[in-house]
């Protein structure tokens, strides 16, 4: 009998400790794939755009250009507004027949207006709302988030998924360093309060290509003209919850070299032969197979010096029109040297931009100083914004060409007769 009572007590405790009841059928939910947040500068109102995966049509998954087999679109975009992000999400419920499920949201798009006026408020909500995951990726755009989320992405039914896949690819290789909420928040919180996100742009690539081709063939092209394409090739720099600037493609690449590893990116350099000045110049492309960038701070009476050392193992991907006999060790040596110089120039340019132009330490100087000299860091921490532009640095690069594919000589050139 006592045992029975004990079992009952145990079971009832187990049942009383269950927490919130959260039963909901999946077909009564609206799965949010991405949210976009905009704000008109000067206004208090947050404009929210959500992209919701549409599941109508009994699961037939045949798609035709972003459309399900039965003709309905694979996604729906909904908008709402509110004084804060959470209010805007709440207001969304007023127009949705289904409960808004955000836990599957993969992407948070920040419009330029909001980025420039300050993202502190929405960061707070993103951190507190348990439905937002810290692994969600963040993207900033030069347009409004609404425009980005309404854009179809080629080959994908739901654009948010496409954007997420692009970012996933960037994790291993790509020009831009993808950033998830966690990285973003941590960097914004930590001392230089500088963080970055990929920067998306809508570009009319199709129009540009058509224009050039028309010029070349001398007649109007029989082309329908496609809508603008979304490209992610730049980096937005945030400082103290505000976007302070955007890095161009080259600086973005160097930024990734500095913050992460050079692996997976590529360098295009214009090869100028030194020995025989009459040889043709050419664009040479090198793919970085493996590499490492180390930033070693050094403290002396002259102040702080950063020694940046970048090592890259590359494969020769393309020699273009340059007459390069890759069996010639000297030539390889020359290419390596020129690549080193190009990389060094690039890194220096990026650091200069950070120091002089944006005055924000997105190149990781403070982080490395903190790690190597924690005590000294504490002393300079408060004035880092003033110190950073004056920090000396020294860049050294080392490039090693590992392979040149099986082809030794440019294909379209005949070997000189001996």
């Amino acid at each position: 009998m006592r045992k029975l009572v004990l079992i009952m007590v145990c079971l009832s405790i187990a049942l009383l400790l269950t927490g919130c009841w959260d039963y909901k059928e999946v077909d009564r939910l609206a799965t949010v794939m991405a949210i976009g947040v905009d704000r008109v500068p000067g206004s208090e109102i947050i404009l929210l755009t959500v992209q919701i995966a549409s599941t109508q049509g009994n699961g037939s998954n045949k798609q035709t250009g972003g459309q399900r087999g039965d003709g309905g679109p694979a996604y729906t975009v909904m908008n709402s507004e509110g004084k804060s992000l959470s209010e805007a999400i709440r207001n969304l419920g007023a127009q949705s027949t289904r409960r808004i499920l955000i836990s599957h949201c993969k992407l948070i798009v920040i419009g330029e207006g909001l980025a420039k006026t300050g993202i502190g408020e929405i960061v707070d909500d993103l951190k507190r709302d348990r439905q937002f995951r810290r692994t969600d990726r963040i993207l900033t755009t030069d347009k409004t988030a609404k425009e980005i989320l309404e854009k179809d992405i080629a080959l994908e039914q739901v654009p948010a998924r496409g954007l997420d896949l692009i970012m996933q690819n960037f994790e291993t290789a790509g020009p831009v360093l993808p950033v998830n909420c966690n990285d973003f928040f941590v960097r914004l919180n930590e001392d230089p309060h500088v963080s970055s996100t990929p920067f998306a742009q809508l570009q009319d690539i199709d129009k540009e290509v058509t224009r050039q081709l028309e010029k070349a063939v001398g007649r109007p092209l029989d082309s329908e003209g496609k809508p603008k394409t979304l490209t992610i090739a730049k980096t937005a720099i945030f400082k103290d919850q505000r976007m302070v600037g955007v890095l161009n493609e080259e600086d973005t690449r160097a930024h990734r070299w500095l913050m992460d590893s050079p692996k997976g990116s590529s360098i295009t350099l214009t090869y100028t032969p030194k020995a025989q000045p009459n040889e043709e110049k050419g664009e040479i492309q090198l793919d970085i197979i493996d590499g490492k960038t180390t930033i070693m701070p050094q403290i002396s009476e002259n102040g702080i010096t950063m020694n940046i050392d970048m090592r890259a193992k590359v494969s020769l991907h393309e020699t273009g029109s340059a007459d390069v006999n890759v069996r010639d060790a000297q030539k390889i040596e020359q290419i390596q040297q020129q690549a080193e110089e190009a990389m060094k120039r690039q890194l220096e340019h990026t650091i200069d931009t950070a120091q002089k132009e944006l005055k924000s330490d997105y190149v990781g100087f403070s982080e490395n100083l903190h790690n190597s000299f924690p005590v000294d860091w504490k002393q300079v921490k408060d004035q880092w914004d003033n110190i950073f532009p004056t920090v000396n640095y020294h860049v050294s690069c080392e490039v090693e060409i590992l392979n040149t594919s099986i082809i030794s000589n440019p294909t379209l050139r005949s070997e000189p007769e001996e």
């Binding site: 059928e25 999946v26 799965t31």
Partner: protein, 534 residues
């Protein structure tokens, strides 16, 4: 019901041997001796067997003295040829011999000299005569003695040895037990040729008088288990024992548990293997199903074929069975819990597919799954009981109704059909039918928990189930052995099966306290001869 055992874990109750209550001991009080008058005996027997037209008696006078003799037997239970050919012939032959067949030793003379039958015993009471007649012997009564001869002529047509329908194998012996106890024990004897194989006889059932034999290997078996089996069997007092399940239910340790605690088989090779590793087999007359005690849970997930395939295959198949077990128990529950409570656990594209599939479904997921599960169980049951051709028709119609029409009519979502079908297949992957039944019952409990408490409920259910499982004992052996209590040496034949040359010892918990634990003297790993060595 004791789902838990609190406090110190109770050891299996030390089996104490109670003197078995043999049926004869009790009946002796009201069991009169045979009278020396043949006429008296005849009337007694005739009154006992009133309204039994199959009861036969034949009077004849034997020898030159024409001593009256009465033969009693049951028509159909005895071998007609033996009765006519051997018994009657030899009795008639007495006349032509010179031996005098009267007086006190007549019965010995008949028994020792004339009857050309091997199996003859002397009996003295009416009860014995009755029993002998009912079990298919011929009883010979003689004028002037209060003794009778029981002549073993048992012989009725039984089923021939055939392949068991419930335990098919790809490789391995195909013979199965029959309904005849004698045939069954003989089949066992053919496999274990040692006098150490002991068979002990019990007669259970006041009306059916069913013969039950326990078989064990003396010197290997744990004698405490044998004593406990004898004790539990001797306590059985029912009117009928028609199948081994009657015995199983009366001797199992935890009558209210859903889990079967006694394994059964109709394959002589499986029973022989169990006996050799120290288990006790309980044969029941009239059924091919032989019980094996003590039983551990892993036995239900092992098939005899595991030992006839190479160990690598056997191990991989066993691992698959454990996956099946988990699927059969938890798959519908997990489906409900994850889709209705924990959407965040699903990959996004899967969530979207499931949502799209459920679009327009009229019932909640729980009702959907429950309906489909019940339909599936009904179909299975219908297919099992109906004659084969009809059964096939039922399964075709059922498959179409479930798989196609229900989905077409948007009654259930296709995902639910997939889940139920997978669960059904998984439950057929468990070799033991009775264990699969237990899992099927628990599955419904898990579905209920999942639909009310989500994954937390499923976890709670698994927890309570595990607590119950580890508290179970079968004849003193922990049910979950060798996992709990953990025994590394016994793991060689549990989740995995090591090759025969690596299985040196018998399972510790079954063949307890004996010196005969070693199966083989040497480590017998095959070593091919080295060609380079000369």
């Amino acid at each position: 019901m004791r789902p838990f055992r609190f406090g110190k874990m109770k050891k299996a109750s030390e089996p104490e041997l109670i003197q078995p209550r043999v049926a004869e001991v009790e009946t002796e009080l009201e069991n009169p001796k045979l009278s020396s008058s043949l006429a008296d005996n005849q009337t007694t027997m005739q009154t006992i067997f009133t309204n039994c037209p199959d009861f036969m008696y034949r009077e004849l006078k034997i020898g030159q003295e024409r001593v009256p003799v009465l033969l009693l037997y049951m028509n159909g239970l005895t071998d007609e040829q033996t009765v006519n050919g051997d018994i009657l012939k030899s009795l008639v032959n007495i006349k032509s011999s010179n031996i005098i067949v009267s007086g006190s030793n007549t019965i010995e003379i008949i028994k020792n000299i004339f009857l050309e039958i091997g199996n003859i015993t002397e009996i003295t009471t009416i009860g014995e005569v009755e029993e002998a007649v009912l079990t298919g012997s011929v009883v010979l009564l003689l004028e002037g003695t209060s003794k009778a001869l029981k002549i073993g002529t048992k012989g009725f047509d039984g089923r021939i040895v055939s392949e068991p329908a419930t335990e098919g194998v790809v490789r391995g012996p195909r013979e199965g037990f029959t309904e005849s106890l004698q045939k069954n024990t003989a089949m066992l004897r053919r496999k274990i040729k040692t006098p150490n194989l002991k068979l002990e006889k019990f007669v259970l059932g006041r009306v059916t008088k069913t013969e039950v034999n326990i078989a064990y290997l003396d010197g290997t078996v744990n004698s405490k288990v044998v004593d406990e089996v004898k004790k539990r069997l001797s306590l059985i007092d029912v009117d009928s024992v028609l199948e081994s399940a009657y015995i199983e239910e009366m001797i199992e340790d935890e009558p209210f548990s859903v889990f079967p605690q006694i394994d059964h088989s109709e394959k002589p090779d499986k029973i022989a293997a169990a006996i050799v590793q120290g288990q006790v087999a309980i044969f029941t007359d009239g059924t091919p199903f032989v019980l094996i005690v003590p039983t551990m849970m892993t036995q239900f997930l092992q098939s005899s074929e595991d030992y006839y395939d190479r160990s690598i295959y056997a191990t991989s198949i066993r691992l698959v069975r454990f996956v099946f077990l988990t699927l059969a128990l938890l798959l519908p529950a997990l489906y409900i819990a994850i889709t209705t409570f924990h959407r965040g656990l699903l990959p996004t594209s899967l969530l979207i597919s499931i949502t799209a599939a459920r679009e327009g479904a009229p019932f909640p997921t729980v009702i959907e799954v429950l309906t489909m599960e019940v339909t599936f169980e009904a179909l299975r049951e219908a297919g099992l009981r109906l004659p084969k051709p009809v059964g096939q028709a039922v399964s075709i119609v059922g498959g179409l109704v479930i798989g196609e029409a229900a989905v077409q009519a948007s009654m259930v979502s296709p995902v639910t059909v997939i889940i139920v079908a997978l669960t059904g297949i998984a439950s057929f992957g468990i070799p033991s039918y009775s264990f699969a039944l237990a899992i099927r019952i628990l599955r419904f409990g898990m579905i209920a928990l999942a639909s009310t408490l989500g994954l937390y409920g499923v976890l709670l259910g698994v927890l309570v189930m595990s607590a119950h499982l580890v508290s179970l004992r079968s004849f003193g052996v922990p049910y979950m052995a060798p996992f709990a209590p953990f025994n590394l040496k016994d793991m060689k034949d549990s989740l995995i099966r090591l090759p025969w040359w690596a299985m040196g010892d018998r399972p510790r918990l079954i063949a307890k306290n004996n010196n005969n634990r070693q199966r083989q003297k040497f480590f017998l790993k095959p070593v091919p001869p080295d060609d380079n060595e000369k």
